[in-house]
């Protein structure tokens, strides 16, 4: 049994390098992001994701940030399980009325300094769900938003770019203030 297990773990082609395209742009982006996070926070950047009414499309692309192509953890970007560990709240969806309180409570549970990134077209103003009796609208109707990343859903690279912009901006603010 042991042998079988051993073999299956180390047998080809699993020990080969995964078929990753040499995506230099992504690597560059993520490195810059990691550096900015460290400059700003002196450590890694912890992100708590909150689905406040999304169709789940945005979540799928946020998930993709963790796959081996993007592998954002190697740059110090981590998705954490609790808002109490987070620097950034990534919020998706046209905030539904049924999720409003949960979003507020998650926000208040996140320690300062904190940033809120609204991800996706819905999170900006409700997207195509705006005007429904069941929807509040954009995330900024409920909690203050620092950055909005557009798209339906935004591609993983757009999210990396957005996070970088956020950190560079807060970095600049920190220097000038």
């Amino acid at each position: 049994m042991r042998k079988l297990l051993f073999e299956s773990v180390f047998r080809q082609p699993l020990t080969e390098r995964a078929p990753l395209p040499d995506d230099a742009a992504v690597a560059e982006l993520a490195t810059a992001l990691g550096q900015a996070a460290r400059r700003r926070l002196g450590r890694s950047l912890s992100i708590r994701e909150v689905d406040a009414g999304s169709c789940n499309g945005c979540e799928l692309e946020i998930h993709a940030l963790n796959n081996a192509y993007y592998d954002v953890e190697r740059f110090g970007l981590r998705f954490v399980a609790s808002p109490r560990h987070a620097d950034v709240l990534m919020v998706t969806g046209p905030v539904t009325k049924n999720m409003r309180e949960a979003l507020e409570r998650t926000y208040h549970a996140t320690p300062n300094p904190k940033w809120v990134v609204a991800v996706g077209d819905c999170a900006r103003n409700g997207g195509c769900f705006a005007g429904s009796y069941a929807v509040v609208g954009g995330v900024s109707e409920v909690i203050p938003v620092d950055l909005h990343i557009p798209g339906c859903p935004p591609a993983p690279t757009a999210m990396l770019q957005g996070l970088l912009a956020l950190l560079e901006r807060t970095d600049a603010d920190a220097v000038t203030s």
């Binding site: 689905d51 999304s54 009325k97 999720m99 949960a102 195509c128 769900f129 429904s132 009796y133």
Partner: protein, 503 residues
Amino acid sequence: MPSLIDLTLEGRKVGQHRPWPRVVVDASVWIFAASELAHGRWSLLGLWGEPAAVHMAIMDGQTAEIAVVSLDCPDRTFPSVGKHHPPALRLERTINDLFGLSAEGSPDARPWLDHDRWGVRFPLGDRIDALPKAAPYGFLAAEGDGLHQIAVGPVHAGIIEPGHFRFTASGETVVRLEQRLGYVHKGIDGLMTGASLARGVQLAGRTSGDSTVAYAYAFSRAAEAALGLVVPDRAVFLRALLAELERLANHLGDIGAICNDASFALMHAHCGVLRESVLRAAGAAFGHRLMRDIIVPGGVSRDIGAGGAETIQATLDNIRLRFPALVELYDNTASLQDRTVDTGMLKPPLARQYAAGGYVGRASGRSFDARRTLAYPPYDALRFDVPVLSEGDVNARVWIRIREVEQSISLIEQILSRLPEGLTRKEVPLGGEVREGMAIVEGFRGDVLVWLRLRNGLIERCHMRDPSWFQWPLLEAVIENNIVADFPLCNKSFNCSYSGHDL
């Protein structure tokens, strides 16, 4: 034993309803239909409301005949189907929440999607003001020595959709799980009312993000059925191509994610790479990684881009090369099998009773697959197997996905090699007076049903039913007597949609 045909003879047939008949019946026939469901002769495909009527879509399991049975509710009540046939219960609670039509005799009259936060009750019926103060939700009681409760959500620890789970446990063993959903209710049924077909299909494609193709597909087919519109051959094949790419990407993601929940991250990493490769190929071929807004009534809005077919084929070749080793790894890893085999067992009779679709049903002996059972084009012209197992555990649900990955690869290759030339889209006629249509399309997690009524080309009422409606309650059932720590594993093997369910 009367057949569905006999039943439809009992009622007043509605003129413009395609492709299956719809009949308006009286209460006694309605109750008769409910009892046939309860006896397992028919399956419930959907149950939905209107301001003064309820509709029920049913299927004869033997003959795959389908019909819609309708009942007028002038006094705002209808005889409960759920009283006889539990799969109807949550749907009836929803009808009450949205339209204020109550199911008489229902054993569960608690609200479902309505959390008392909308500021209005019965938003699609006679709107009245909400209650002044939200009443606490009455979770079912579980009493006994040493039982304790664990409340989880709506915000979960991972990157997942919101919902609330209330576990009652005895030590580590789950005695009862009760779900509370509705957190992502966006009022899509309401937004559909009065919308154009263009807006309708956009909303449909945003009902459940991982099934954006399946929803746009089902919506478009329902609209085309209503209008009697035949779409060009090339579009028919491209639609199936999109649907199979969506299935492939989701199954690959799921197989890895299930293993990840058994702490086997290696599979997750490799499957994630394969999933990403499918999304990138889709992005290259159709301009959107999730293939959103491409299927529209009349055809497809975008043809496959230059080099798209080659990119997709190269991706398939790569999956063919890498996937078998991953399957072997899954099958040969004792620590993984230890977690998935015999865990979260769904017995075949229960899957049948709930007419569970997708891998949930097919891992528990229910062979229904809309692509095969209803054989809509182009699937009637393609070769594929529908894998069925009867073990009903997490392992079986993984294996169904594995087999379906292989089938989807073969289907995509057949489609690419036979893709007809020609137009990809037809003009949609405005379509005169009242027309009704229904469609059932096999999404990656099961059958997506869309029913709609058009009046002068606008949507008067559209109802979409996610496969999760009949899968969520089964998750409650399968977790009993498993340990709390196995819940994520069971949950992921079902991978029910929150947004598609909450709508």
